[in-house]
């Protein structure tokens, strides 16, 4: 990549996280609000926030692969499930603390991602074909786990539930509030990680590869290596999310853990929020869940089953029609949150 190009990208990201001072203050306030929330919010709001933050975190993870490196994965449920099952199985069978299990799960998922990545790169599977390859691997694994007796097969894997007074952060046993803080930390951590990656060489290379892989290769970028890095980071992050999910829900079925609809839900937030942006996945997760909850409330009185998802689908259509590049890029321009080049 030429120095001018790097300079151009760097200048666009000048200021604190590429934001104006006003935006930095807004971000600070937002983080403070997130930290203070449990002292004012009720149980419902906290558990809704857990769902939203999980979606934001997973969206951020998926964004690394698609938004940064341009690899369209429609089978992220695979990494999610591998993380969830690895951490839970190690805990159930050998009592391993989830943080260790999580690391193991991340390693397993990264290995699976590396396998898929290597195969697809070696055999030149690209674009839509790559997306379908990821779906195939996820579905293949779902059925495989249906027959994997060590983790309960299709009968499901259950984590022992104990009623404890205290929150045990080491073993991830505790209240929704504890999980809320864990997820706030994960979401902010993922944000910081992505920000750091984007500002480093690897981030510039990813974007170069995303825009034009052939040109990037011509400039001497090792396309394979950097793509593999994106896959590994993305799948490992997703697996960590899956592990936390498993300890929050305490039961896993292949049918729902590796489900196609889980992969789809994971990609909605970043696309709606703004692909390839840092705040897109977070904004998207909030918007989509507020939309969903709002529609549930609004359509409850109608007594027509299925009408909520109809409106949800229409809302998605409207969003794609009006803001195909996502809402965050438009919003930050409107609110003057973007640093001037």
């Amino acid at each position: 990549m030429t120095t001018e190009a790097v300079g151009a990208i760097r200048s666009r990201q000048s200021g604190i996280w590429g934001l104006t001072p006003r935006a930095a203050v807004a971000l600070g306030l937002l983080v403070a609000a997130l930290l203070a929330l449990p002292s004012v919010a009720g149980d419902f709001l906290i558990s809704l926030m857990v769902v939203i933050l999980m979606a934001a975190y997973l969206g951020q993870a998926w964004n690394v692969m698609m938004g940064f490196a341009g690899l369209l994965s429609l089978g992220h449920a695979l990494y999610f499930g591998l993380g969830a099952y690895t951490a839970s199985a190690l805990f159930v069978h050998w009592g391993l603390p989830p943080w260790l299990g999580m690391a193991a799960g991340a390693a397993v998922a990264a290995a699976a991602g590396a396998l898929i990545g290597t195969l697809s790169f070696r055999f030149g599977v690209k674009g839509v074909y790559f997306a379908l390859l990821t779906i195939s691997f996820a579905e293949f694994t779902r059925i495989l786990f249906d027959h994997f007796d060590w983790v309960g097969g299709s009968g499901g894997l259950f984590l022992p539930v104990t009623n404890r007074a205290d929150n045990d952060l080491l073993y991830l046993r505790g209240s929704s509030t504890m999980f809320y803080y864990v997820l706030v930390a994960m979401t902010l951590g993922a944000l910081a990680l992505c920000h750091a990656l984007l500002r480093r060489r690897v981030g510039f290379y990813w974007q170069a590869i995303r825009e034009d892989p052939d040109a990037a290769a011509a400039l001497g970028i090792d396309v394979f290596r950097y793509r593999m890095a994106a896959i590994a980071v993305s799948s490992a992050m997703t697996a960590v999310g899956g592990a936390v999910f498993a300890f929050y829900y305490n039961n896993l079925y292949p049918e729902t853990t590796f489900a196609m609809h889980r992969s789809i839900e994971m990609i909605l937030a970043p696309i709606v929020g703004g692909l390839g942006t840092l705040f897109g996945p977070i904004l998207g997760a909030f918007l989509l869940h507020i939309l969903g909850e709002g529609l549930t409330v609004a359509t409850e009185g109608l007594g027509v089953d299925g009408i909520k998802l109809w409106f949800y689908g229409v809302a998605l259509l409207v969003i794609v029609a009006l803001r195909p590049a996502g809402i965050w890029p438009w919003l930050r321009r409107r609110l003057g949150l973007e640093a001037r080049p």
Binding site: D43, D146, N163, A165, Y253, L309
Partner: protein, 417 residues
């Protein structure tokens, strides 16, 4: 995180004290202040109903909802005040969990649901953390009452109970009809329900002393689009009896394929799974739906309340079949209403204590009085043998509760009117 100790009930002395205090307070309220008690009893108990009314389980979720809806006027006649707060789980455990939290926030005193085991397990967690009682209408996974929950009550057989009841009725059936198969093939859906049923059957079969040997077990994908190969495989095994654990759509595919392939075993018997007693099964298969037998927890035709429910249901929904989804959902609302009436309060703790002390003999399903063991499981649920006759499910066994005599072996496909 100061409120964590409040939401997670500790197991230590403080919790016991709390319970004792609640009991004492309840007793005091009962004894000392009857005006207050009356005022509270008049308040209807708010039951948060969580059912999959959309999504891939919508068919059964809507059937359950009909059972819940029809319970309100019937229970009012019996002197219970119930108010339903309905929520759709969209057939997803994640949505079910959020909806449960929402119902609690909106003031539900007790939760009820959720038909499928995955969502039920997710909602049970919420109930446990919030200390709100949860009455399971339908969900067969044994794990739900074995994870150590104290706010979960299930008035539905576990898959082990279903298997036990279903298999022991087989012997009764052979005895009653004098026809005994020597071999059987077992065809089951490979999902969480099918797996736990299979486990139950394999564990219980030797204990019960079944006269036949299972010569082949065929598992199939719950999403199967086509069962021709599976049925061909079963036919090739050449067994006398065709044992099945199905869901609905696959049950239809299976029987249709059996007719096409002219596979005529002595009988098609399910030791406790849905599918063959449901409306759609009759409607799609017509006369070929007849003579299939399901050994499953069922209505007790001899119970008076059953007659009330059945006539009310058939008047309200002439198009629908009166089957167990309706019955167990009705009973779940009944159990909650009954607990609220006895507690004289809608306080979750008092409700939980009252639920634990449930002893209801005026019910609609077969079995003894409804009561819960220390795990929250009702063990007094009996299976009946239901045979499809002239497009209706009829009780054929046990004899005292039967409305018809069993027919076994079944007539061949070609020899039906």
């Amino acid at each position: 995180m100061t409120d964590d100790t409040r939401t997670m009930r500790p197991t230590g002395p403080s919790r016991r004290d709390l319970g004792r205090w609640t009991l004492a307070a309840g007793g005091f309220a009962l004894a000392a202040s009857s005006p207050l008690r009356f005022a509270r009893a008049a308040d209807p108990v708010k039951v948060g109903v969580l059912l999959p009314r959309s999504g891939h389980l919508a068919l059964i979720g809507q059937a359950c909802q009909r059972g819940a809806d029809i319970s309100v006027p019937i229970l009012a006649d019996l002197g219970y005040a119930v108010e339903l707060m309905n929520a759709d789980t969209e057939s997803s455990p994640d949505v079910g969990r959020t909806q449960a939290e929402k119902l609690i926030r909106e003031g539900a005193h007790v939760l009820m649901g959720c038909f499928d085991s995955a969502t039920t397990a997710a909602v049970a967690q919420v109930a446990e953390q919030r200390g709100v009682p949860f009455v399971v209408n339908i969900a067969a996974d044994p794990k739900i009452t074995e994870q150590g929950y104290r706010y979960v009550f299930r008035n539905f057989p576990t898959s082990a109970m279903l298997g036990m009841g279903g298999l022991s009725l087989l012997n009764d059936l052979f005895q009653a009809t004098g026809a005994t198969p020597k071999t059987a093939v077992l065809m089951h859906v490979n999902d969480s329900f099918g797996q736990s049923m299979l486990g139950g059957i394999n564990a219980l079969a030797p204990k019960i002393g079944l006269p036949f040997e299972i010569v082949e077990t065929i598992a199939y994908d719950p999403k199967a689009r086509d069962l021709s190969v599976e049925v061909a495989k079963a036919k090739a095994a050449g067994a006398d009896l065709h044992l099945v654990v199905t869901r609905l759509n696959d049950a239809i595919l299976m029987v249709r394929e059996m007719v096409k392939q002219r596979y005529e075993p002595m009988g098609i018997i399910s030791p406790g799974s849905p599918g063959m007693y449901e409306k759609q099964f009759f409607k799609t298969l017509g006369k070929n739906a007849d003579y299939c037998i399901t050994n499953v927890a069922w209505f007790d035709p001899k119970q008076e309340l059953n007659g009330v429910l059945q006539s009310a249901f058939e008047a309200a929904h002439p198009e629908e079949t009166y089957e167990l989804n309706v019955g167990f959902t009705f009973e779940a609302v009944l159990v909650a209403a009954d607990a609220a009436k006895r507690a004289g309060s809608t306080d979750p703790q008092a409700l939980t204590e009252a639920l634990r002390a449930t002893n209801l003999s005026n019910r609609v399903m077969l079995g003894g009085p409804i009561s819960f063991d220390e795990k929250g499981q009702n063990l007094n649920i009996k299976s009946a043998a239901i045979q499809n006759r002239d497009g209706r499910p009829e009780v054929v066994l046990p004899a005292p509760n039967a409305t018809m005599e069993p027919v076994f072996p079944m007539p061949g496909w070609g020899s039906r009117g």
